[in-house]
Structure formats: C-alpha cells, structure tokens
C-alpha cells in the first residue's frame, strides 16, 4: 500500500490526469477560437485529433513532474523559501521506497537509472524477438497473426516497421539511461565526492525519463510509426499519430541527457578529492567527462530537428517537405549532427569501464593511462566533424563527401590507441576470470569487430554498396554490444556488492556470458555477411530465391540466445539482491577509493574526505598507494 | 556601503558605455541592412562584435575562470 505514496505512483496518476486535462484544454481552446473539433474529411479529422492528443501528452508529461515532486524544491526557491541540503532519508519509511521516490542521493538515482534502463532494454529486446521470429524465414507469417490486429489495430508490414523502429529507439533510450546510470552512480564515488554538484537537477534528469519512456512506448498504441528510428521527413510527416509519441518521447529523454551531462561536467571539474589531478582520476571519469561534453552540446540539435518535424506536422510549417519548399536533407544534417556523436555517448562510458576493469583483473597497470584518457577526448572531438558520413548517398552536396570521409577515417586513430593499450594491458597479466572480466574481454573482442567494420562504411566507394544494408546493422550492433551492453553488464556485476552489499551468482554469470557471447557472434557476423551479400535493411520480407533463409534462421537463434542471456542476468541480480552471499570489504582487491569503504556504500560516501597520493592503476608496484583514506590520522588503509 | 561607491560608479558607467556602443552598432547595422542588403557577412561580423561585448561586459564570462570573489 505504501507504493501509492511514492513519487512514481503519484507522478503516473498526475500524468494520466494531466493528459486528459490537456486534451480538454486543447478542445476548449479550439471552441473558444471557433475551430472545429472534428471534420468529415478523414485527413483533416486525423489532424485535429493529433493536435489535441499532442497537447494532452505534453501537459501530461509536465503533470508527471509536478505530481512526482521533482519540482517541489525549485518551487520553494521561486517563492524565496530555503530548502535543506541534508538529504538523509526518512527512517520511518522502508528502504525500497527510496527507489520509487524522488531522492537526491546519487547512488539511489544511479540505481533508478539502471533499473529503468534495463526495463527499456527488455522492451527493446521483446520488440526485436517479435520481428526476429518474423524474419527467420521468407514470407510474412507471424506478424500477420490475428492477435496483433486485435490488440493494436494493425499488423503485417506496418507492424514490422513499428516494431523495428521502436526496437531501435527504445534501445537507444535504454542505453542513454544506462549511460546515466553509470555516470551518476560512479563519478561522485570515484572522484571522492559525496554527491553530484546539483542533486535536484540530477533527480529531475532521471524522473523526466519516466514520462518520456511511457510516451515513447505508447506510440505502439497510437498507430505506430514506420520511419525507422531516424524519422526522416517527408515520410515522418505522413506517418500515423504514433510518430508524435516517438518525437515527444525522444525529446524528453534528450532533455534528461542534457541536464544529466551538465551535472557530470561540473561534478568532475569541481568536486574531486584533494590531490586528484585530472590525470589521476580513475579512467572512467575521463570517459564520463568526454561523454558529457558530447551530450550537453549536440543533443540540442536532435531536439530541434524533432521539434521542427512536430511543428511541420501540427502547423503545416514547411521545413523539410520539399514538395512545399522545405529541404529534406537539412533534417538529416541536423539529425546526424547529434546522432553521430550520440553513438560515442553510448560507447565511451563502456570503453571507460573496460579500461577500469582490465587492470583490476589482470593485476597490471593500465597501459598508457594518459593516452587512453586523451583518446576518449580525441574520439569526442573528432565525432563532431563526421556526421555526414551517414549521408554519403543521401544526395547532399557532393563536395562535402570527401572531407567527411577523411574525418571519419581519422576516428580509427584514437580508437586504435584504445585497442593497443588494452592489448598491452592484458599482455602478461595474471588474469583472473571472474564474470565482470569475462564481459570486459568479450566487449573488447566484439567492439573490435565493430571497429574494423567501420572503415568500409567510412570510405564512400564501398559505402555506396553497404549503406542501408544489414552490414550497417551488424556494424552498429557490434559497437553497441561491445561499447555498451557487455561493459554495462560487466559494470553491474563489478559494482553489484557496492550497490547491494551482496555477491551475484558467479556460475549463472558465466553461463550468461557464454550464452550471450556465442549468440551475439552468431547474430552479428551473419548480419555483416547478409549486408555484404546485398540484403537491404528494414524490410519485413525477402525473396526466398536469394537463399537467405538459413542464415536468417540462425540469426534468430543467435538473437534469442542473447535475449535469454539477459533474462538470466535479470534473474541473477534480482535474486542476489536479497539472497546473495554477503560481500564484505574489498571484494576485487581494487585500489579504487570506493572499495576501501564498506559494502554497500555508506549513505554519505566519504564522511572523512580522502587524499590521493599516487597513481590509480599501479598494480604490481610494491608499496604504492592510490588513496590515503585517513589523511588526518595518517594511517594507510589502501595498499 | 560608502566604501563601495567608487566601484559602483565605475561599474554603472561601464554599463552606459557598453549600451552606447551597442546602440551605435545596431543603428549602423540597420542602415547597412536596409540600404545595402548584399553586405550580409559584415552584418554578422558586427553582430558577433556586439555579442562579444555583452558576453564579456554584461554576462561577466571572466568570473567563470576566477576563483576569488569580486565583492
């Protein structure tokens, strides 16, 4: 019953009420201005409904935030009232309630991000499995089932397009939240801060995702959309109402990303422990900082491009419809200016986790720390100048193509530095094969595939063949699994004792790894081969004469292996959270400051600020310390 | 407050100078834009100049990089 007094519940109730209210408001305004509420002409009637629903949904999103209570402190400030900086939780409430309520503790927010992320990844996975069943053979069969028509009002190719588009964007939202989870949970802890710089902004940045995700998923019930996750106009101008839900949902998630990244930058730059110069930060913080720089700047342009599409749909303003004087290629420029750097937003934190874990389990220093740190920045900076490689065949000005080919190929250089450094770190290491390390190693291999399949796409002549084929799908899944999914799973296993105070089940973790690694290799290599053979992407059906049936069936099996691996993961962490073996002390024998504290992490991370006295990854160097946990007392607690 | 009077005067005067500068530039822009439209690039340069004034003088971007308080 206490669930009913949580922010989550109050927010969702407020969102429903707000949506209804907003729709009523829109209708009332139309009546006041003498506009019709319906029209005998089908197209016009649909447009009127769209305007009303969009206003309702926007009001609903704001209502969620007000209802959940994220704004409460800010409203107090606006009225000139003081608020307390002490966020010690109410002891009369059970601990689980904190995770469903507005809480300013970065560890709670980090877990909230993480759980929401995993939920979205689950939805994205279910969508993928649905259309994978369809794609396991030629002919349209499964998605023509009566049940879909009954449930959603549409089926067949349109359902495929909707599922495929939603799979893409829901996964991306899930990944963005996962990035938020890692940044929020880890950055303050690793740099010795007790919280983020702006705890309220942090809570806002998380909670805005909840209505955002709800709206995004609701597009399934508003007729879906058939544009893929890129939403290119003019197609997105003609898509059903579900398109608007996609645009609004992504916009809200993007807003979260911007707010969160500002927090990360300020926290990293101003709240480091004494003695922690930038080049003595744990390597993950470099990745988080580079990520945040991309997020806070580029995200605005996808927001803008989506708003312009919304305005074009709602008000008939012609930005992108070339039949009305707009320019469809302009949208692609605005969209990719974010969406290319976004890919690095997804992978940089993951690469940071890999760099963080390899030394701990290899018992060796991270090879070339400075180069690894700066390569994150190199990738971030270069990524601003490569967006048009998504547009080699788009019909943009031809003179743009060659410069973008050069800049894109240059991304290989800092990425290469990372690979060489990882290989050198692993070389001659006394590797301990615990689950987090398995996932980190798996990530290196998978990301390697993603890396080497990049240059054929970056080179225009070969891209002419590969663009919009399954090769792109394979390349992208390689980078996402190697750059995010595997490192994210590794990070959750690795810091699980910090979160819960307990250990995960090692055996299940290892089964999960092999299930996912083998399944993924099967899946992604077949995607790459299908693409090379010329199978275009985003099609519900393919000609049986092409002979792709067997490969597609195997691909589906690989996909399901990955899916079941993730289900096992969910089972493992849910069960271990309460039933796992109690994990005491420095489980991994790590030098990092957070492991010098008890598990789970104390409420206020470091009551006693620590001092950095050495390099972070000097494993194998006798008598070296990274942190002095008790600078006043002088007694070393870290080795 | 008496000890602040001098710095206050100086700050207010600075504000006046910036405003005058902006007014002159804006009027110039207007004339160029209305009389000689092809000089578009020049107008953007002038606008950037104005923006630079506001960012340094009114928005005090310098404070971002100074750790000590000015007053």
């Amino acid at each position: 019953m206490r669930f009913f007094s949580t922010s989550m519940f109050r927010g969702l109730i407020a969102q429903v009420a707000g949506t209804v209210l907003g729709m009523g408001l829109a209708m009332a305004l139309r009546v006041v201005f003498g506009l019709p509420l319906s029209s005998p002409i089908e197209a016009e009637d649909a447009h009127i409904r769209e305007v009303i629903v969009v206003v309702g949904v926007l009001v609903g999103a704001i209502a969620f935030l007000v209802g959940s209570g994220v704004f409460t402190d800010w409203f107090k400030w606006a009225r000139g009232e003081e608020t307390s900086d002490d966020h010690t939780p109410d002891p009369s409430k059970p601990n689980w309630m904190r995770y469903f309520s507005v809480d300013f503790d970065h560890k709670v927010i980090g877990v909230q991000y993480g759980v929401t992320s995993l939920l979205l990844l689950l939805f994205g996975g279910i969508f993928a499995m649905l259309f994978r069943i369809e794609l396991s053979g030629s002919g349209i069969t499964f998605l023509n089932s009566e049940i879909f028509k009954v449930l959603l009002g549409y089926d067949g190719p349109h359902l495929y397009n909707t599922l495929m588009s939603l799979h893409g964007i829901v996964m991306i939202a899930g990944i963005l939240l996962g990035v938020g989870a890692m940044s929020n949970y880890l950055v303050p802890m690793l740099i010795g801060a007790n919280d983020m710089a702006f705890p309220r902004l942090n809570a806002f940045a998380f909670w805005i995702n909840v209505p955002g995700a709800a709206i995004l998923l609701s597009s399934l019930f508003f007729g879906g959309f058939d544009t893929g996750w890129v939403g290119y106009p003019p197609l997105s101008l003609r898509a059903p109402l579900g398109m608007q839900m996609f645009l609004i949902g992504v916009y809200l998630v993007g807003l979260s990303s911007i707010a969160g990244s500002i927090n990360v930058i300020v926290t990293t730059l101003t709240m480091r422990a004494k003695g922690m110069s930038l080049f003595r930060m744990p390597i993950f913080c470099w990745a988080a900082l580079a990520t945040a720089l991309l997020q806070f700047s580029a995200t605005q342009l996808i927001g803008l491009s989506f708003q312009l599409v919304m305005l074009e749909r709602l008000m008939g303003m012609s930005f992108f419809d070339s039949l009305q004087g707009g320019d469809p290629v302009l949208y692609q420029h605005l969209f990719w200016f974010y969406s290319h750097p976004a890919v690095y937003v997804f992978i940089l934190p993951g690469l940071g986790v890999i760099s963080e874990l390899l030394p701990v389990f290899g018992r060796k220093p991270l090879y070339g720390y400075r180069w690894v740190a700066l390569s994150s920045f190199g990738i971030a900076v270069v990524s601003f100048f490569v967006w048009a490689h998504h547009m080699f065949v788009s019909g943009m000005s031809p003179f743009l193509r060659i410069p973008f080919m050069y800049s894109t190929l240059l991304v290989a250089v800092p990425t290469g530095v990372k690979f060489f450094s990882w290989a050198a770190t692993i070389w001659q290491g006394k590797t301990i094969f615990k689950t987090p390390m398995l996932f980190a190693l798996g990530a290196v291999v998978i990301f390697l595939l993603g890396g080497v399949t990049g240059p054929p796409l970056a080179t225009i002549a070969t891209d002419l063949h590969l663009h919009d084929t399954w090769f792109v799908v394979g390349h992208f899944h390689d980078t996402m699994f190697g750059g995010f999914i595997f490192p994210f799973v590794a990070a959750i296993f690795y810091w699980f004792p910090k979160m819960s105070g307990r250990m995960y089940n090692e055996k299940q973790g290892k089964i999960q790894f092999w299930l996912m690694f083998i399944g993924f290799m099967l899946m992604s290599n077949l995607q790459l081969i299908l693409g090379l053979l010329g199978m275009r992407r985003r099609v519900v059906d393919f000609d049986a004469a092409l002979g792709f049936d067997t490969m597609q069936l195997a691909l589906t099996i690989g996909g399901f292996m990955v899916f079941f691996g993730m289900l096992l993961f969910a089972y493992n962490i849910i069960r271990s959270w309460t039933k796992g073996e109690v994990a005491e002390g420095n489980v991994w024998d790590s030098r990092s400051p957070e492991w010098q504290k008890p598990n789970p992490m104390p409420l206020h991370n470091y009551e006693q600020p620590f001092e950095v006295v050495g390099e972070p990854y000097d494993y194998g160097l006798p008598n070296s310390r990274y942190v002095n946990m008790n600078p006043a007392g002088g007694s070393p607690s870290a080795h | 407050m008496a000890d602040n009077t001098e710095s206050r005067r100086a700050a207010l005067n600075r504000g006046v100078w910036v405003a005058l500068m902006l007014a002159v530039l804006t009027f110039g822009e207007f004339l160029v834009g209305v009389i000689a439209p092809p000089w578009g690039t020049l107008l953007l340069v002038v606008a950037a100049f104005k923006a630079f004034f506001v960012i340094t003088e009114y928005m005090h971007i310098g404070r971002l990089f100074s750790s000590d308080e000015e007053h």
Binding site: E42, T227, L235, G395, I402, L410, T462, L464, L533, E615 | -
Partner: protein, 345 residues
C-alpha cells in the same frame, strides 16, 4: 621475447587465414558493372586490413590469456609496466598514415566510380510509394521525340547509363547489389533530382531495390533490371515506342503494370496496400465515412485521378499518388478502367 616471436608468427598465420576467408569465399554478390570491379578492388584492400587488425589484437589477447593466466594457487600481481611513450606515438602515427592512405585511395576509387561518359544513355527513374517506373526518351523514325515508360529497367551492356532519379512522395533509394552502387532519391522539383551512373558489363536479370525505408510497402518496392546486348536494347526500345495496338483491356493491363498500380492493388483477391481489383467493378464499396457507393466507371475514374476523394473503409488516405492525371493520358486512364472492369466478376 620468445613470446613475442610466437605471437608474431601466429598473427601472420591468422591474417593469412582470415584474409583468404574474407576475399575468396564470395561474401560479395556477383559483379555486373564496371563500378563493381573498382569497388570490389577497394573491398579486398579493406578485407586484408580487417584480417590483419583482428588477427593482431585477438592473437595478442588470447595468447596472453592462455599462456600468462593465473594458475591455480598462484598469488601476486602481473608484470609492472605502465606504458611506453615511443610505442604510443608509434601506434598513433602509423594508423594516421594508414587511414590517410586509405582515404586517398578511397577518393580515387570514388572518382573512378563516378567517371562520366558523354555517350551515356539517359533514363529517368520515377520512384513512388511503392513502385518504380523507368522512362526513356526515344526519337522515332519520323523524327518525333516521345517518351517510353516501362516497369522493367532495360539497360544495354557496356554502355554507361545515366539514371536521373525522381521521387514523387518520400525519400527512396536506388540500389542494385550486383552494380554495387546506390543513391537516395529525393522528392521535390528538378533541384532535387540526383544522378547515378552505372556501366553494366554482364548480361542478366537483376533486381532494383528501394534501400531507404519508405513506409508500409517498402519491402515490396522492387523492380527488374535486364542487362542486354546493345542491339537487343535498341529493338526493345523501338517496340516500346510503338503505340499500344492491343485491345483496351490488354493495354490497360500494360499501363497498370508500367505505372506501378499493381504494386499496391492485386488482381487475385489478396489485399496489399490498396483494395484488390478482383471483383471490384460494379460491386458495392464501403467508405471510411460509413456510406456505401457502387464502383461504377465514374467511381473508378475519380479513384485514379483524385484518390483522396473517397477512401475505402480499412485503408489510409494520402497513400496513393495524386498526380496520375498528369502522368497518364485520358486514353490510358480509360484503358486502365477497362482493365479493372474486366476483373469485375
């Protein structure tokens, strides 16, 4: 040192194995154009680099994990080595050199692929949701210039074809895997027409696919490409340029095929994107506003030239192109109606 030597040998072996696997097992479709030859040459260079890089990293990692792994009961840390400035500079500078070289040969390949032949024959490609139409300009024996439309792209072998790509609604993309090239097709006027040059070099039948998602029927937006000898091509074009001298119904069927009607409307009763034509003419049709009309000749004429006027229940407005009255002559429209009416029972 001995370890590095073994790794070196293994890298060479793995590179050779992987490189041969990628270049010799036919993971690219058949080549059917001059452009494909050039592009595949570049693909093979990429494949060798991929093979080398994958081999290098994987061999080092796997070798280290197996040989140096922590054996049972072993304690202590790995070898302390925190970095080597020279090595780092080396593996930054060498890749820069490599990618610059790749970019240079990439640029050369591109200019090779896009080389213009002034003798190229021009074909106007019209893409619409969800059909293809190819239009040739022919000068008949009497010296009259006339357009020939076809739903099959016929191209002469060893002659460059200049495709001018037009879209009537959303973005599409012209893609024939065997030709290796692809170009998005933008809607809008002449300003948005994009060009693609292909020099087919092997006779055969291929498929044009739309490679940019364009809505419900995207998956079925296919057309046939036939590469034939030059003389055969000329004969085909002359034949097409002749007026349709068949019966109205047969001519109607021909227009329905060439102008893409059958991409959405079937003649066998299955429902695709639009209503089927089988058993349509003369029968009652329920509209979205709930009313019912009879599909007589007038209804069919309106449905072709102004498709949004009456939407059949269960179908969407704005799906069918609204410019058929510009594309087709009145005679052609009448013949299509005659064809639909022939399917009435």
């Amino acid at each position: 040192m001995i370890h590095l030597l073994i790794v070196g040998v293994l890298v060479v072996v793995a590179t050779l194995g992987l490189g041969l696997l990628l270049t010799q097992t036919g993971i690219l479709p058949a080549q059917a154009s001059q452009q494909a030859i050039t592009i595949d040459w570049l693909f093979n260079i990429h494949f060798w680099f991929i093979a080398f890089f994958v081999a290098l990293i994987c061999v080092v990692i796997v070798y280290s994990l197996i040989v140096f792994r922590r054996k049972a009961g072993e304690k202590g840390d790995g070898v302390y080595m925190h970095g080597n400035q020279r090595l780092e500079i080396l593996w930054t500078v060498v890749p820069i050199g490599i990618v610059l070289w790749m970019a240079v040969i990439g640029g050369q390949t591109l200019s090779d692929v896009e080389r213009r032949d002034p003798q190229a024959i021009t074909v106007d490609v019209f893409a619409a949701q969800w059909s293809w139409r190819f239009q040739y300009e022919v000068t008949t024996e009497e010296g009259v210039r006339t357009a020939v439309a076809s739903d099959v792209l016929v191209l002469p072998r060893n002659q460059q074809a200049l495709l001018r790509l037009h879209s009537q609604d959303v973005i599409h993309s012209f893609y024939v895997p065997e030709f290796r090239v692809k170009q998005d097709i933008l809607p809008g006027g002449e300003e948005y027409v994009r060009e693609l040059r292909i020099t087919p070099n092997t006779n055969g039948t291929y498929t044009v696919q739309c490679a940019e998602i364009c809505g419900q029927g995207h998956y079925s937006m296919l057309a046939q490409v036939q590469v034939v000898d030059g003389s055969e091509f000329t004969a085909w074009l002359t034949e097409q340029a002749a007026d349709c001298n068949l019966s109205d119904v047969e001519c109607g069927q021909r227009w329905a095929e060439t102008f893409g009607c059958l991409g959405c409307h079937t003649t066998d009763g299955t429902v695709k994107i639009g209503p089927t034509w089988l058993g349509l003419a003369g029968h009652a049709v329920e509209l979205t506003d709930g009313s019912t009309v009879t599909a007589d000749t007038n209804y069919l004429l309106t449905a072709i030239v102004d498709p949004n006027a009456q939407i059949v229940a269960g179908f969407q407005p704005n799906v069918m192109p609204q410019n058929f009255d510009e594309l087709l002559s009145q005679e052609q429209i009448n013949q299509i109606v005659a064809f639909i009416e022939s399917l009435g029972n």
